[in-house]
């Protein structure tokens, strides 16, 4: 198996590293050229000059920010990949974008999996991501050795789009949990509770969650290095809102969270970790509240 990786951000770079460590990675690419060159040199693989450099790959994994980035990459890959190869998209995009990609590639006999991930930068670094896969089971079997390089769990959710649908649900939970944890810790601070006692106490009961465990202590120390950026969360929640509206459901938790991350982005925190939400939660109530 020969794999390629496109999109070497906070998630993509360590994921590509795991593929290389397993001897599966042949070629990488990235929007910012010198990032691809540096990682390729470090991992001993090729930095793609053109998409043709992916022609020999059995599997090409993508980790890009937006619907339009996915569409651009897939259009280019459709020209060069051989039938029977599989494109695996780890990005968080709309179900419609996943379906378009699948249709375009399938016309060339190329497989497509929408396979967004959860587990944060820690999960990417430790190779312990949860991968939510939509698409054909046979394509998943082709891609599985690559996914296993960085997954703690690979779940085949159903047909094309069901990976993205699952990720949407995941982001409802993540966004709402962030709201709860940041609002709670801001109150705890104001009440004068010692974080070194508070956080383990909360983790030992029914309030236990991943975000408190991984980001509780750092947010109280004012450390907001991503992690997962506020601007990316706002983008994801836009996708989720559209999906909820289409499904005929209200989404008050998502609406609140999206407004908060938009506000954080306007306040200069677009590239901060989502735990920067505590900055809003600390703001004093005004008379109008």
């Amino acid at each position: 198996m020969k794999a390629g990786f496109i999109g070497l951000g906070a998630m993509g770079a360590p994921m590509a590293g795991h593929l290389a460590a397993k001897g599966l990675l042949a070629v990488v690419d990235n929007r910012t050229r010198n990032k691809a060159d540096a990682l390729a040199a470090q991992l001993g693989v090729l930095a793609a000059a053109t998409h043709s450099d992916f022609a020999g790959c059995d599997v090409v994994a993508l980790c890009v920010p937006r619907d339009e980035d996915l569409a651009g990459q897939v259009t280019a890959l459709a020209e060069v990949l051989r039938p029977g190869s599989v494109v695996v998209d780890h990005s968080t995009v709309s179900v419609a974008a996943a379906r378009s990609a699948q249709a375009l590639l399938s016309a060339r006999g190329i497989g497509f999996l929408d396979a967004p991930v959860s587990g944060g930068v820690e999960g990417a670094r430790n190779g312990k991501l949860s991968v939510m896969v939509g698409g054909d089971a046979a394509d998943l079997e082709i891609a599985r050795p690559a996914l296993e390089a960085y997954a703690a769990r690979i779940t085949h959710m159903g047909g094309t789009g069901s990976g993205q649908a699952t990720k949407a649900v995941n982001q409802v939970l993540v966004a709402g949990i962030n709201e709860a944890v940041c609002e709670g810790l801001a109150l705890g601070e104001r009440l004068g509770l010692d974080p070194a006692r508070l956080i383990p106490t909360l983790m030992a009961g029914a309030a236990s969650n991943w975000f408190l465990d991984k980001r509780g202590a750092t947010m109280l120390q004012g450390q907001f290095a991503p992690g997962f950026k506020c601007s990316h969360m706002a983008k994801d929640l836009g996708i989720v809102q559209a999906m909820a509206r289409e499904a005929g459901l209200r989404s008050p938790v998502v609406d609140m969270a999206r407004a908060d991350y938009e506000q954080l982005s306007l306040r200069g925190e677009a590239d901060s970790d989502t735990s920067a939400l505590i900055l809003l939660k600390r703001m004093p109530a005004t008379r109008d509240d």
Copy 2:
């Protein structure tokens, strides 16, 4: 050490059972008389006829619903307990109620700990609760053997009231996490995702939390046996709102959750588990939303 236990509800009854199993329990009481008689017979301890039956106790633990229940019990116990004994309140009440109880008992030389718990009925049944203690360190040492009967973790948070302050923070997290999980699972249902795949997938990533793990599958099957009742959550969140207001903070997550649990109570779900929140999240959006 001789312990008494007052308030034998969903949490109190199994907690008293753990005390009895350790040979520490002498006497129990409960608002509903026959519940006390039945449990006393089962555990081989005394069902109190009057508060005088607690006179010989070193430690009396309380698990009652409201501020006024605590005040009533403490007033009666102050008349009968000997100096040096300790009252441990596991209820969720206001910081002011905890301070009043401490002042009243302290005038008689009786110790008081505000020691609310988290971990749900599972935690009570398994003896794995997180106990958040406010009060005097010396009183905690007297009560510790009793608390250890049902605690996975005992954290001394500070002076009187700091246990309740910690529980308030805990309830912000719990209420907000419930909102996130129920909104997310309602969307997942509508998108046709298989719960048997969805829940473990979410639990393997950054959305991981206690409530999804313990209540996710049952809520999707329409099982809302408490657990933790909607009416109790609404009561707790009223306490939290007052605390946030006094601290000068907004509390949008708590406000949303309290309104939802009030609405659930009006719809006949007062005694249902808080996971019944999914019933509201499933309601279709109207044109006004």
